[in-house]
Amino acid sequence: MSVGGLLVAVLQQVIDGVFLGLFYAIVASGLALIFGVMDIINFAHGDLVMISAYFVWLISTYLNIDPLLSMLLVLPVLFVLGLAIQKGLINPVLGKEPLIQIAVTVGLGFVLQNIALGYFKAEPRGYPNPVFSEGLSIGPFVIYESKLLSAAVSVLVLFLLDQFLSRTRLGLAMRAVTDDRSSAMLMGINVERVYLLTFAIGMVLVGVASGLWMEMGQVWPYLGTSFSLVSWVAVALAGLGSIRGLAVSAVIIGIAESMGSLISPSVKMAVVYLIFFFILWFKPRGFFAKR
């Protein structure tokens, strides 16, 4: 490959990495919200995205509509599912040892994966009639409509989330709990209710993520594992307390992963992992943390 060709290839990966990163930002924002507010270590987050992606796929193939439209139908379902999971699984382990929390959510992830495997089987599923499948050529670069559309939705949702957290009563209460749990209780915030709604909103973000993913790709039972990993790395890189910081971190990771896949698809996760390793080594509290 010539130097110019290589440069184009690298820049193309950067572009794709930004798109990927914006998607990761949505996945990670749900995780960070739940982790920050409830201090619960959720290892099933990616698997929830996976299950939700199957919902999107079912609706899209059944009604023959675009995944982003199916997503809108899935969101209320996830909100209710979030309330149920919070009541049934998360509340009983709140405040328990981290190991028990991790165990329960790992168990949930295992259950979800194997339900998906049993019901949908192992082969990847995607929406067969995508509308926005064209690639736009801009100079030597190719940008797919589906990715562009997903990125636009990501940015919009991140913006709304940021506004929600800084403008609304519930959002401010959530931030107050993240910053200082005991003071928040003293200030008369109904922490139980905040927890419940936080998890439900986190699940809505899971739903958004699943819609974005199905717009761009396919779902299979083990899809969630890497999502969980990547979003935790994004949280580690960003620290808690800033949606913007999280978005930047997620994009950095997306670019890193995308560059890694330039070498080989099987080493891309290794690149992400190395980043993770170095963050923990040098900056265990994250780069954008407010605390």
Binding site: I41, F43, L89, P92, V93, K96, E97, P98, L99, I100, Q101, I102, A103, V104, V106, G107, L108, G109, F110, V111, Q113, N114, I115, L117, G118, K121, A122, P221, T225, S226, L229, W232, A236, S264, S266, V267, K268, M269, A270, Y273, F276, F277, L280, W281, P284
Partner: protein, 316 residues
């Protein structure tokens, strides 16, 4: 070691060997029993870092695979007999584990990062080994004998695995009663208090990690022997999680509970896989997941807690 501990170990060994003799005529059951015993050994080793120390390690299969592959390669490439090679395999696994433990075990770094580091380690090594080894199965040389830890009959292999299992149980019991054990249990209870009474929490966590990963790496070769081959698929995230799950279901820190869970669930899982596996894939793993949730929410003391309760109830 108390008399009752000694007695239970003797009884357990007698029962295991008796079953071994009973099924020694049937290769399928013999192999199954060997698998279950080896799985129990991995769970018992995990108990040191997970059960005693309270660190959720999800990389058991990574250390196992790494140790097994290093031992195999030393044999195939350099002619180093596995009876020596397993020590190197264990050391390599322990070296990698400690490298990961150093940043994540720092005082004040949250537990979640260790769990995550180890969970992703399996995935990463899986990817890297697929990249460098390709998707192929590598078969062990056609050499048999004790020198290669590769006996001619399944029964003898079972005996080797059984010795390993016994050794791991004894290591567990020894650690439990020593200063290290006291410190590890305190770290699991409360790291801050442990530091304040002079426990170098990072050092002791690293010691626990090194012992566990060394045993797992060294015993990993036996897994390769059972398959007669190795591939990148040995880095199996599901297996690593299953091992941790057994330790948790068994009741963290209770070696008898951990082994009971390993034996019962592995045998049950194997049964489900062989009967319903074609119809509903993943049913055994689904069951593990459900068990984990139930134990985590209702009974964090696990099977060991259940045993104790039954014992109390019996005495009434």
């Amino acid at each position: 070691m108390t008399r009752s501990t000694l007695l239970s170990i003797a009884l357990f060994q007698a029962a295991l060997l008796a079953v071994g003799f009973l099924v020694s005529g049937n290769n399928y059951y013999m192999l199954l029993l060997t698998q279950v015993a080896l799985f129990a050994a991995f769970v018992a080793a995990w108990n040191i870092i997970g059960g005693l120390t309270g660190q959720l390690d999800l990389a058991s299969s990574a250390y196992m695979a790494l140790g097994g592959i290093v031992t195999s390669l030393l044999w195939m490439r350099l002619g180093l007999p596995p009876v020596v090679g397993v020590w190197v395999g264990g050391a390599v696994a322990a070296g990698l584990a400690v490298l990961i433990g150093i940043p994540t075990f720092r005082f004040g770094v949250r537990e979640v990062w260790y769990a995550l580091m180890t969970a992703s380690l399996v995935v990463i090594l899986n990817n890297l080994f697929r990249y460098f080894m390709g998707p192929w199965d590598f078969y062990l040389p056609n050499k048999w004998g004790w020198l290669y830890l590769r006996p001619r009959t399944y029964f003898e292999l079972f005996i080797i695995v059984d010795v390993v299992l016994l050794a791991v149980i004894l290591v567990n019991i020894y650690i439990s009663g020593s200063k290290i054990g006291y410190y590890l249990r305190n770290i699991k209870e409360d790291e801050l208090v442990s530091e304040a009474v002079g426990v170098d929490t990072r050092l002791y966590k690293l010691i626990a990690l090194a012992i566990y990963s060394f045993i797992t790496g060294a015993a990993g070769f036996l897994q390769v022997v059972i398959y007669s081959s190795f591939s990148y698929r040995l880095f199996d995230a599901g297996l690593a999680i299953s091992i941790a799950i057994m330790g948790i279901i068994g009741g963290l820190g209770s070696i008898s509970g951990a082994i009971a869970a390993a034996v019962v669930f592995r045998a049950l899982g194997e049964y489900l896989r062989s009967t319903l596996g074609g119809v509903i894939p993943g049913l055994d793993l689904l069951l593990y997941g459900v068990a984990l949730i139930v134990v985590g929410i209702l009974k964090p003391e696990g099977l060991a807690g259940l045993f104790n309760q039954l014992r109390r109830w019996w005495r009434k």
